[in-house]
């Protein structure tokens, strides 16, 4: 006022509520003293709560850091006085929700013993980083009300040069006088803090302190202190809410902070004067932020005044000193009447942002009358300092039209309450905006969470699909491997299944051919014989041929004997074989000699031609018959007869062989082994002959019993299963007629057959590396077991 005033701008809207500041300005700042207990919330600022670095029971000293900043946007907490930490627990904190938060509780000891601390004499010798770090370590947060950590605000970026540093001494809200009294009493400290800030920020243009013109004493004190520093004190007309950061910037510089932007975007940094004082104390005295000026006022207090309060002091402690009349107080407000919130309890502590505790009477601050319908008068739009359309936003808020609210720049609303103040219908407009802001923030968070959930869901789905695909690929690979193996088996004709069958067919064909060929050969031979005997070979010639044969046989016999002798001398393994060969050759020789003798006899006596022809004819007939069907030609009776004969002769031969053997053993002949082999062979032949006979007998009886079965077998010879069934039936029927021994013998024979077949299969399987081999081996073992038990029974 006294100074030629510089140009100031006006803001849109605004209101002029009753100031009510004089009550608390009647007396100077008073130290509130040390309360018996101090409650320090860990979150006294915007950002992450501090984390305690002391534990319960520790003694702490005044100014000692008890909780450290956690993260960049955070601030540490210090002990305001000496005492003992008694609890780190959830306590009621000053918050509009009336909820509790984590607090460190200290029982004070009254000694107020300082921790070691020291300030810097010349802050200009310190670097910017060093200074900011000191501000951070001092736990300073914006003291105007928001509580934004000052160190963060001061960390200006080099790419955004600051033109103007503004200190906010506006204090536009009614009742509050904390800044006013600070200016009056501690102007020097404010200016000192401003100097530090100026050194830190290095504003290229100017440093301003904006003060409303309702604080002439404060302005005067500041001007006095600021003389010669170049810091300009700018008074401007009182209007609520000029003290808002953006509003003050507009008033002092005419520039508007863009929506959603920061003052630094337009080259301005703004700090509260209380914060400037705290910075001065932190840098120059080394004292962290442990106390602040708080106004206790309202008609329910008989001695309203400003206190220098240790942080953490319960509100009750201050009210007690101010002549608080509880019965008169309608509600306790933390902050001013415009933007403050109701405290539910007087036990809550003063924190870094608590500039005022208002204890009004009912007459002074009556509860708002019930809201009535909006009459669309438009007064709220006139009062809005941010030029918003509160009325529109009210409707949108009620209809939850979040998009339209955002279009109407809801988030530029500073919640000053001017609109509610002027509303003739008493609609609590700001409450709607606050609720809608929270809803929109919640919706945004939900959206982010939904996105993340979706991402995680999709990632999980993808992972599961991939796992499934991998499994599928493995399965496919296994299948392919199996196929490849099969293909390899196909290219190798012996091992594949089809080829096995093919091979089996071929083998059987070959067998048939073999079976046919001897017959064919026999026919050919017989024919040749007949022809030869009829046309060419005279008895003389035959005699000659036979003699030649005998001679060669004799030669072979001699050589065989020689070989045998040699082998015996050398003790070779082949002795037995040689011995057999010698015997065979001897047999042949005898047979030839016999034939020769017969021939000579015949040729001399009988009419040779016819005699020679007839046997040949018979042979041809036999051979032809054989070829036509090995089994069909022989009647059952004939076969039985033949087999019985065979058995009989073989038995005779066996007896002879055994006799020979015993004689040889007695004489200690060299041919003992050979005789033994011969006897054995004969024995085996006899056995097989007996077996054959037994089988034949069984068949015969089976045939006799089940003629239908036989006919069915013949009819359905194409159906192997049917045939097998019939065979089995026949076998069972036959068995029924057989003696126990015969049955066993038969089963032994069939078991042996099966074992032989299975072994064939097994070897085939092993060759082809088939995994059936094991199964086959198993079945062989089983069959052998059965065989053994059958043999046991028989034996």
């Amino acid at each position: 006022m006294s100074q030629p005033s510089r140009k100031v701008w006006d803001i849109h809207g605004g209101i002029h509520p009753a100031e009510n500041k004089q009550q608390s300005l009647q007396s100077p700042i008073k130290a509130a003293g040390i309360p018996p207990q101090i409650i320090l919330p860990l979150a006294q600022h915007i950002g992450a709560p501090a984390s305690p670095i002391i534990s319960v029971g520790d003694r702490v000293l005044k100014g000692q850091m008890i909780a450290e900043a956690k993260g960049f946007v955070s601030a540490p907490v210090h002990a305001p006085t000496s005492g003992t930490v008694v609890a780190i627990e959830s306590r009621l904190i000053p918050h509009p929700s009336g909820m509790s938060g984590a607090c460190i509780v200290i029982d004070t000891d009254g000694q107020d013993e300082w921790a070691k601390h020291s300030g810097v004499e010349d802050f200009r010798s310190l670097s910017k980083m060093d200074l900011i770090d000191r501000v951070r370590q001092a736990g300073i947060a914006g003291m105007g009300g928001a509580g934004f950590p000052s160190a963060v605000k001061l960390s200006t970026r080099d790419d955004k040069p600051i033109e103007t540093l503004i200190l906010n001494g506006t204090e536009c809200e009614p009742y509050i006088t904390a800044d006013d009294i600070l200016m009056r009493e501690r102007a020097a400290e404010i200016i000192a803090g401003a100097e530090i800030l100026r050194h830190l920020i290095k504003p290229s243009k100017e440093t301003l302190i904006g003060v409303e013109d309702n604080k002439p004493e404060g302005i005067a004190a500041l001007q006095k202190a600021a003389q010669g520093t170049g810091i300009e004190i700018v008074p401007f007309p009182t209007k609520y809410p000029s003290g808002g950061e953006k509003q003050l910037i507009q008033i002092l510089t005419g520039k508007e902070v863009p929506a959603g932007g920061l003052p630094a975007d337009i080259g301005i940094v703004c700090q509260n004067i209380g914060t400037a004082t705290a910075i001065y104390r932190a840098i120059c005295l080394g004292e962290p932020l442990i106390s602040r000026i708080t106004t206790i006022t309202g008609e329910a207090c008989s001695q309203p005044r400003n206190y220098e309060v240790l942080l953490g002091t319960p509100v009750q402690f201050l009210l007690d000193q101010s002549g608080f009349k509880k019965d008169d107080c309608i509600r306790l407000v933390m902050g001013g009447p415009m933007m403050g919130y109701t405290l539910q309890d007087t036990a809550v502590p003063i924190v870094k942002t608590s500039n005022c505790v208002l204890a009004p009477t009912a007459a002074e601050l009556p509860p708002p009358p019930p809201a009535q319908a909006c009459i669309r008068c438009g007064m709220c739009a006139e009062a809005c300092p941010v030029s918003l359309l509160p009325q529109q936003m009210y409707w949108f808020s009620r209809a939850q039209e979040h998009e339209k609210l955002e279009d109407h720049k809801l988030f530029d609303c500073i919640e000053c309450g001017a609109c509610s103040y002027v509303c003739p219908s008493n609609i609590p407009l700001v409450q709607y905006y606050r609720a809608s802001k929270a809803e929109i923030r919640q919706a945004q968070q939900d959206k982010i969470k939904a996105e993340r959930s979706k991402e995680r869901f999709e990632a999980r789905t993808a992972r599961l699909e991939q796992e499934e695909a991998e499994k599928e690929a493995k399965r496919a690979a296994r299948l392919q491997a199996a196929k490849d193996k099969a293909a390899a088996a196909v290219s190798n004709p012996d091992s594949s299944k089809t080829d096995l069958i093919q091979a089996a067919i071929e083998r059987s064909k070959a067998k048939k051919a073999d079976a046919a060929d001897p017959a064919h050969d026999a026919i050919a031979r017989a024919q040749a014989k007949r022809d030869g005997k009829v046309e060419e070979e005279t008895p003389a010639a035959k005699t000659e041929r036979l003699q030649l044969l005998i001679a060669s046989a004799e030669r072979r016999l001699t050589s065989a004997r020689e070989k045998l002798a040699l082998a015996k001398e050398q003790g070779g393994e082949n002795v037995e074989a040689f011995a057999t060969a010698v015997i065979k050759t001897e047999d042949k020789l005898t047979a030839l000699q016999k034939e020769l003798a017969e021939h000579q006899a015949r040729s001399t006596s009988a009419p040779a031609d016819t005699g020679a022809t007839d046997p040949a004819q018979a042979a041809i007939a036999r051979a032809m018959a054989k070829r036509a069907g090995a089994s069909a030609d022989e009647s059952d009776e004939d076969k039985t007869q033949r087999l019985q004969n065979l058995v009989a002769t073989t038995e005779k031969r066996l007896a002879a062989a055994q006799q020979k053997l015993s004689i040889a053993q007695e004489q200690n002949d060299a041919n003992v082994a050979a005789f033994a082999t011969g006897a054995e062979k004969t024995q085996s032949k006899l056995d097989s002959a007996k077996q054959e006979l037994a089988e034949h007998l069984a068949k015969v009886s089976a045939k006799a019993i089940t003629k239908e079965a036989v006919s069915a077998e013949q009819a359905s010879s194409n159906d192997p299963v049917q045939a097998a069934i019939e065979r089995a039936k026949a076998a069972r029927a036959a068995q029924a007629d057989m003696s126990e021994d015969d049955k066993l013998k038969q089963s032994i024979a069939s078991l042996e057959n099966r074992i032989a077949r299975t072994q064939e299969k097994l070897s085939a399987a092993q060759e082809s590396g088939d995994d059936k081999a094991e199964i086959l081996a198993d079945s062989i073992a089983k069959l052998q077991d059965k065989l053994a038990s059958a043999k046991e029974k028989l034996g």
Binding site: H95, M99, R398, E439, K454
Partner: protein, 197 residues
């Protein structure tokens, strides 16, 4: 030829129209191929409005299938976690009438909580969780990553020892918000006199 056309305005106009038709048809055909929209844009938009809890309470195995179903004409009122807000948003997007929620009540936002003492480590809940928000391994205690839990309660059913419960998310200092005031129209005369007294 040109003479013929010039002398027969009918043929001339016919030719002109046909050629125009061919040209624009080709243009449209080209545009249809060139600017073909991938996927189903409506299903995408619907999906963006769904809460992505993947809870399956709508009867579809996840939010995307339900979004697709809505795009194909299914009802928009089958999402209990989304509640009335989602129905309103969907109605707005699709230009249809908002219907009341097809469920007993909106599900309260909650997170699964495993009573860890009782957990036997069977991993059944892990397999059930659509967003991989449960941590643990066989025969070891499991726990829910609360920040990732969508509250779909799909893990509650499979638990053989019933050690999972859904706990409503509690309001913290960070999540607390001002309540919306009662609309003035809802206040009755006695309230007014009582309040102003």
């Amino acid at each position: 030829m040109i003479e013929l056309i010039a002398q027969n305005p009918f043929i001339a106009s016919l030719l002109a129209l046909v050629s125009l038709g061919v040209v624009f048809g080709a243009l449209l055909g080209f545009a249809a191929v060139k600017f073909k929209t991938e996927g189903d844009p409506i299903a995408d938009q619907v999906e963006a409005l769904l809460p992505q809890t993947q809870c399956g309470q709508c009867g579809y195995p996840g939010c995307r299938p339900y979004a697709q179903a809505i795009a194909d004409g299914d009802d928009i009122n089958k999402c209990p976690p989304g509640g009335e807000a989602t129905i309103a948003a969907l109605a707005d997007l699709l230009g249809v009438e908002a219907k009341p929620l097809d469920a007993v009540e909106e599900s309260v936002p909650s997170v699964a909580y495993i009573r860890e003492d009782e957990c036997i480590g069977c991993t059944k809940c892990i397999q059930a969780c659509p967003v991989d928000a449960i941590l643990g391994s066989a025969k070891h205690m499991h726990t829910v990553i609360a920040s990732e839990c969508t509250g779909c309660d799909l893990c509650v059913e499979p638990c053989p020892v019933d050690c999972i419960e859904m706990r409503p998310i509690e309001t913290s200092l960070q999540t607390w918000a001002w309540d919306k005031p009662k609309p003035p129209e809802d206040l009755i005369a006695t309230d007014r006199s009582g309040a102003s007294a």
